[in-house]
């Protein structure tokens, strides 16, 4: 609003070429909205400067755990802008959008092959929405069996969306403890699950980056009480081409295309959260679905699923995002995707090796594509916390990892470099982390005062919540 000046304008419309219309007086707006009046040139410099204050993957390594902030291929941007995709209206009849429908059909089949599922919905516009979709499918299945059941089991290390989705689906969360290895405590699971438990939600590898080695036992325990097992696909990057949730006993899988399939994070979205299911659960998938006519090969949208849980999105999901995921999948092919997983795990292990002397791993097992280290020892020695290390990393030119998650680890640093970073970048990030730790001992003020080089210094979040200013 500082740039606003009465009478300035950017917009232009052609002259009105038809008579003006009359609207009922009582429905007409009296006071114009207080939108800024700004010339186009000032709009451009304003948002250009805002962009320049923002760090993205394109700027450098962005090692947020479980976010898979990998490089976003620019060819994906080019294909999403093709007019047959970008300018197609969602209400167009099927025969006029055969390209878009074919894309969705092929992507669905590819995602099913990658995850070992029978069919999938591409409608959920985000992972959390995918979780809700999967849980509503579980509910529909159990209702058909006679009772929805009451609880969904989730590990204590789970991502926050899991328990939140459980509640939205009308269930209560049943917390499963982890053992000393950071994995699901299987004997606790056996004692806790009963016929009131509709299912278990699990990420594998888990949020500690550790593979649940007893996964077959886990899924069979849940199946043993008639429950279903849900795979949170946040960490799918680690196992691409090596193993599939469908072969581990999972019944429902969600994928985050903005993680594993490199669709850009958009500053917080849009993403997409496709959900795959085993054959038995296909009848519950959302509608509409994309079907192919066996005789003619033509594609159409179908609502012919009498037991469907219904609609999860106004239209077909985040189609423009799915176009980008399609490009990524078919650029790589099966071998390419397997190489993605291998290099993601290699990068994480290499980086962990470089820093573990100072930031030890929270748990003893070999991590996969991400690792959780702890700054607890550093804090005990120097008083410097993981947050201070993170802020100092900003001054050293690096975006920090996630800190203080998962909740089961004190002074947690959850680090996922992804496969698209070079060895030199990892060397630099490790050196910066070790430098910050050294400075914690010798010049702690550098960490306490950090960041000093960012566009703003440390922000008062407590004040933001106490003195709410949510609009100008």
């Amino acid at each position: 609003m500082d740039l606003s000046h009465p009478g300035r304008r950017a917009y232009s419309h052609p002259a009105l070429d038809v008579p003006a219309a009359e609207l009922p007086d009582e429905l007409v707006r009296r006071d114009p909205p207080g939108l800024p009046e700004v010339a186009e040139r000032d709009i451009v410099s304003h948002y250009t400067r805002l962009a320049q204050m923002n760090y993205g993957v394109d700027t450098g390594v962005y090692p947020l755990g479980s976010c898979s902030m990998k490089y976003n291929p620019k060819v994906a941007e080019a294909v999403a802008a093709l007019p047959g995709f970008q300018r197609a209206h969602p209400h167009q009849p099927d025969h006029t959008v055969q390209g878009a429908l074919e894309l969705l059909w092929r992507l669905e089949r590819a995602l099913c092959e990658i995850t070992g599922m029978a069919r999938a919905t591409l409608q959920p516009p985000a992972g959390a929405c995918g979780e809700l979709t999967g849980l509503l499918i579980m509910r529909a299945h159990h209702v058909k069996q006679g009772s929805p059941r009451k609880r969904i089991a989730i590990p204590d290390s789970s991502h926050g969306t899991n328990p939140a989705s459980v509640r939205l689906a009308g269930y209560e969360a049943l917390h499963i403890p982890s053992d000393s290895r950071g994995l699901v405590d299987v004997s606790a699971l056996e004692k806790l699950v009963d016929e009131d438990v509709a299912g278990l939600m699990l990420t594998n590898p888990n949020t500690l980056g550790l593979f649940e080695e007893e996964i077959e036992k886990i899924t069979s325990v849940v199946h043993g009480v008639g429950g279903l097992v849900y795979y949170d696909g946040a960490n799918l990057n680690a196992i691409l081409g090596r193993c599939r949730p469908g072969n581990m006993g999972f019944d429902i899988v969600h994928i985050n295309t903005h993680k594993t399939f490199a669709t850009p994070h958009g500053g917080g979205g849009p993403g997409a959260g496709p959900v795959g299911v085993t054959e038995d659960l296909v009848p519950y998938l959302p509608v509409p679905s994309v079907e192919r006519d066996e005789m003619t090969g033509a594609f159409h949208l179908s609502a012919d699923r009498p037991h469907s849980i219904g609609r999860m999105h106004g239209f077909h999901g985040n189609f423009g995002v799915l176009v980008r995921a399609y490009a990524y999948v078919f650029l790589h092919g099966g071998e390419g995707l397997r190489a993605v997983g291998e290099r993601a795990v290699l990068n994480a292990n290499y980086l962990a090796e470089l820093v573990k002397g100072t930031f030890p791993l929270a748990y003893p097992g070999r991590p996969m594509h991400e690792f959780v280290a702890t700054a607890k020892a550093l804090k005990e020695e120097t008083g410097i916390r993981a947050m201070d290390v993170a802020k100092r990393l900003i001054d050293l030119g690096y975006h920090p990892s996630t800190v203080y998650f998962p909740l089961v680890v004190e002074e947690a640093m959850m680090v996922e470099p992804t496969e698209t970073e070079t060895m030199e970048t990892l060397d630099g990030l490790a050196a910066a982390m070790l430098q910050a730790a050294e400075e914690a001992r010798t010049e702690p003020d550098l960490l306490h005062r950090a960041p000093v080089t960012a566009p703003v210094r440390r922000l008062d979040e407590a004040r933001a919540a106490r003195h709410l200013r949510l609009r100008w």
Binding site: A10, H13, P14, V18, L27, R29, G34, L35, I43, L50, A51, Y62, P83, G84, R87, H89, P90, H91, G99, A126, A128, R139, R167, L168, G170, I215, E216, I239, R242, N247, M248, P264, H265, G266, G267, G268, G269, H313, G314, F315, G320, V323, G333, G334, E335, E342, R343, L346, Y350, E353, R366, I394, F405, P455, R457, D460, A464, A465, R471, W472
Partner: protein, 441 residues
């Protein structure tokens, strides 16, 4: 085509540093019984040139609003997207960043979202907005959850003139939340008499509604309040240059589809869920909210705030489960609204209303074509009753280069919803009328 940069030498050196000989050893902990013992059954990977060719082929199979003159609406509209919008929102510092967990490095996104929230408040006349939800339909689901907070008030009444896709979405979300939306009948395409008892949490009205018609919003919201329920309005952001906003009409919560604000048709997504409400509700608002604060030097800055509502803090006691939202679309909307300004928004509204009115006049000159609800005031869309099946007429007009509208389930399959935005010229409208006359002859 690979984006992981490792050479064979890199791999060897990195493995050695880890005390390993082969990549396979990194996966030792996976039990052999769950390992995939075959390659993935996918076509071989290709080069960038080849994927472009493949996807151009797919795109070329589609008609679109580029080669068909678009009069289709019903929740997604062909408004003009000015060049500045994606020149700015498409900058990679915005689109390759993530949720601002380290706000010092994310002031660009955070400030843009703060401006977005502010503009939505100005547009709607309500007090607080958030940093986006998935789309209009799911935003309505969240609004209903927000409204269903008073004890004993569980029921949700929805006008039959609300977009059926929104009602379908409510039905799905309602199964988890424990309600079944109850539809009350509009009369002649608008209004209706919702029976707002003491167990009703909310009354949902779309204005302009699914027929493009202007609702008697003040009366309907008054009926909601008289019964102690909350009034939820589904609104059209681009109507608010000329139509009284939800706040003035005394809606309590307002939601909308923000695709019209600088976002492409894109076959239905990614779109933008808008929500606005009163400050009293702020602690139950779902999703990200950006707040203004200061840094240690007293400099103004922006952070995510009231995070205790959200899943990453509050987990099962969170107001919703939303994590990733539609931030980039909200940034596009902010640039778009800056480009329009208050005068541009009013001008745009006047043009849409004028062109829709003109089109309705020309089309109803055709023998057998009438307004489905004659006399009902409308904004940029109107419903026609055709002499024959609407889908057939629509398909015949596609052959002639027009996407003439969206067939309605009403009027025994002869209803057609026609939308006219500021992009449609008099010549295009006249041509549509001529083509429709020819098709129906």
């Amino acid at each position: 085509m690979r984006f992981a940069p490792h050479t064979d030498d890199d791999v060897r050196e990195m493995l050695a540093r880890c005390g390993l000989d082969s990549l396979d050893q990194l996966f030792d902990q996976i039990p052999p019984s769950v390992r995939l013992d075959r390659p993935l059954d996918l076509p071989d990977g290709v080069s960038e040139m080849e994927i472009l060719d493949d996807m151009r082929r797919l795109s070329a199979l589609d008609r679109s609003a580029d080669d068909l003159v678009c009069f289709a609406g019903a929740g997604a509209y062909d408004h003009y997207v000015p060049s500045v919008v994606w020149a700015l929102a498409g900058r990679s510092e915005f689109y390759t960043s993530y949720t601002p967990y380290q706000p010092e490095l994310s002031q660009g996104v955070l400030q843009a979202l703060f401006e977005y929230q502010s503009m939505i408040c100005e547009l709607t006349g309500l007090e607080v907005s958030n940093a986006s939800l998935y789309d209009g339909a799911t935003a309505l689901g969240e609004a209903v959850n927000l409204a269903r907070s008073a004890p004993g008030r569980d029921r949700v009444l929805v006008s039959s003139a609300v977009d059926p896709r929104y009602v379908d979405t409510l039905r799905t979300y309602g199964r988890g939340a424990g309600y079944e939306p109850e539809v009350f009948a509009a009369e002649d395409g608008r209004g209706g008499r919702p029976e707002v008892g003491p167990d009703v949490a909310a009354v949902v009205v779309q204005h302009p509604n699914r027929f493009g018609i202007l609702e008697p919003a003040r009366e309907l919201f008054g009926a909601a309040h008289a019964g102690g329920a909350r009034a939820i309005q589904v609104f059209d952001p681009l109507s608010l240059g000329i139509l009284a906003p939800p706040g003035e009409l005394r809606a309590d919560i307002a939601v909308a589809e923000g695709q019209v604000l600088g976002n492409h048709l894109s076959f239905g997504g990614p779109y933008l869920g808008i929500i606005a409400t009163r400050l009293d509700d702020v602690r139950r608002l779902p999703g990200r909210i950006v707040g203004e604060t200061v840094d240690v030097d007293g400099k103004v800055g922006f952070v995510l705030t009231l995070q205790a509502r959200e899943q990453h803090i509050r987990r099962e006691r969170a107001t919703s489960n939303i994590c990733t939202n539609q931030t980039l679309m909200a940034i596009a909307a902010t640039v778009y609204l800056s480009w329009l300004g208050p005068q541009g928004l009013a001008e745009l509204g006047r043009q849409c209303a004028a062109k829709a009115s003109y089109a309705a006049g020309r089309l109803t000159e055709i023998l057998g074509v009438d307004l489905l609800f004659p006399g009902a005031p409308f904004f940029k869309e109107f419903a026609l009753r055709l002499p024959g099946p609407a889908e057939e007429v629509r398909d015949a007009l596609i052959q002639r280069g027009f996407l003439a509208g969206v067939p309605l389930p009403d009027a025994d399959g002869r209803g057609l919803l026609v939308a006219v935005t500021e992009r449609r010229t008099k010549a295009q409208i006249d041509a549509l009328a001529g083509a429709m006359r020819a098709v129906l002859a």
